[in-house]
């Protein structure tokens, strides 16, 4: 083989037209490792001390199982509520003009900014048996504060901005011409929303849902005030982790944490898959 040919062969390795791949990819990996991967793997290393049997024994205890079920269950319900009403809120903000719209729009972000403990205390005060809202709900047999319902309320509160803020820009970008086209083809309002607008925003709803869900699973501050924290009834997994830590049972704490991580990761993966699928349907290349 002549040297010329050799260079030719080497050149065949495909290179991107955009320079800097090595540098940026290297930075990304280091950054992700420092911020995400190393701390998270520490959880698994610590848990590994227990062995598989020990790990299984800890997470199948009734109290732990109930806490996990409660955390994921309430997070799912809250994210679902947000997925529905968040879309509605986004729709109203995008489609209509009304006085005070900007101010109200700014309020949406408050759950982001507010210390979650403040939110928790405020919600508890509202929904407790003697609170502004609670005093009317309690006679109806609906106890909110210090029950799982209260947890859902708190998680809905902290998760709301995620759905609104992911769906809003997509709705804003939706061409008015699409709706006009549907109408000119004889579609009524409902058909237009169901067949034309909704499919276009589904990927963003899923994104918002995933974010709200993830936030809900990890939420601690607002929940512990309103939940009442009764073991097996209204005790969330993050709280149980803190309790274990206070008992210096580090392995026990990390075991629950590892279980949460695994479940969360799996669920987010599924949601991501759904997103990719729905996006492919709309922007197939």
């Amino acid at each position: 083989m002549t040297p010329l040919l050799a260079t030719g062969t080497r050149r065949r390795i495909r290179k991107s037209a955009i320079p800097g791949f090595g540098l940026t990819m290297g930075f990304t990996l280091v950054y992700l490792s420092l911020i995400v991967l190393i701390p998270l793997s520490a959880v698994f290393f610590k848990t590994a001390d227990l062995g598989l049997d020990g790990f299984w024994e800890i997470i199948t205890r009734t109290r732990v199982l109930n806490a996990l079920k409660l955390s994921f269950g309430t997070a799912l319900i809250a994210a679902s509520i947000n997925a529905i009403f968040g879309v509605l809120v986004a729709w109203v903000f995008v489609r209509y003009t009304f006085p005070g719209k900007r101010l109200l729009d700014a309020f949406i972000d408050l759950p982001f900014a507010l210390p979650t403990a403040v939110a928790g205390i405020a919600l508890t005060a509202l929904y407790a048996g003697n609170g502004w809202v609670g005093q009317y709900l309690e006679p109806l047999g609906l106890k909110v504060a210090f029950t799982p319902v209260g947890i859902v309320v708190a998680l809905t509160f902290v998760g709301l901005p995620f759905v609104v803020r992911t769906v809003q820009p997509v709705l804003e970008d939706a061409e008015a011409a699409l709706e006009e086209a549907a109408a000119s083809l004889g579609a009524n309002r409902w058909q237009t929303i169901a067949r034309v607008i909704f499919p276009a925003v589904v990927p963003s709803i899923l994104t918002g849902f995933a974010l709200a869900f993830a936030r809900g699973v990890g939420e601690y501050g607002s929940v512990i005030f309103i939940a009442g924290n009764l073991p097996n009834v209204s005790e969330i997994a993050p709280l149980l982790i803190v309790i274990r830590l206070e008992e210096f049972d580090y392995a026990g704490a990390t075991a629950i944490a590892a279980a949460m991580l695994i479940v969360s990761f799996t669920m987010l993966l599924v949601i991501n898959g759904l997103q990719v699928w729905s996006r492919k349907r709309s922007e197939k290349l």
Partner: protein
Amino acid sequence: MDIHVRNIEKDFGTFKALDRVDLDIESGELIALLGPSGSGKTTLLRVIAGLEFADQGEILFGNQDMARVPVRDRQVGFVFQHYALFKHMTVLDNVSFGLKVRKDKPSAEAIRQRATELIELVQLGGLEKRYPSQLSGGQRQRVALARALAIDPKVLLLDEPFGALDAKVRKDLRRWLRDLHDQTGVTTIFVTHDQEEALELADRVVIMNKGRIEQLGHVDAVYEKPANPFVFDFLGNTNIVPVTLRNGVVNLGQGDAAIAESSGSKDGPALLYVRPGDVRIAADGAAGLPTTVQRVQRTGPIVRIDAEVFGSTAPITVELPHLHHDTSAFQPGAELRLRLLQFSLYAEDSGALLGASTPADAIGVAASRQRSR
């Protein structure tokens, strides 16, 4: 379906988009709404479609008043400039949409058959399963057209249908649309700001400006006899020469040269409008508009000469087919006499049409009168 627009007015705030517009469109006609942006042409199209409601006046389909009929019941096929295809649907689903949402929905098999037929009609057979993002601009617009035709529209409305396409595709689609119209016979109204497109494609042209119809007529009639300076100017390149009309004879501003006879009779100052392509070099010894060559430029098949007109500040541009002329003959500074084949005369103040070239002028200028300079 014949369509009648009666005294339509539409304001957007203080902006008058449509100002007392009347228009009658015959069944099966292909008509172009032509005008600069902001002239109200798109608004008029949208009012006919029912996507916009007029403040006053009425729209009739046949003799049915459409005022209270919403767009979804009007049975109009609307094609948007940027296609407005449903991205999450295949070509087949896009075309079937109008049939699927119908109250008296046909059977799935019938829908499929009709959609496939239309996809064949717009020459996209084999692409049924593609998504809009997998198609070129021209193909997308044809899908949009098939989708609009699926509902058996009473009228097909196209809003700058080729505006987003490149020149070559645009030309092909134009010819194709004309053929399609001749095949289907659907009454079609399309909006464009491209005069060439309007003249090539349409049976009749509506020229709009500032919310009003400036002229309406057959393509040739409008091109040959523009009703006012705006229409003349809008339909192509224009030379303007200030002249004086005296006894039906056109004189140069100073009155020192009779250059042509006109069919108009009113005496007084006027503006002569002539297209660069309607000017020729007068034969040796023959009379003509006296000019001095300023600049000669060859662009492809034509030679463009800018010449200064005696007694006028505005230069005149002449476009000659390159084949017949030896460019080297025209040097800057050379004197040139021009023959005006076709022109229009408008009043300086009101813009009213005072007259136009008589057929005799095709030969040249008022031959009996010589330049007396």
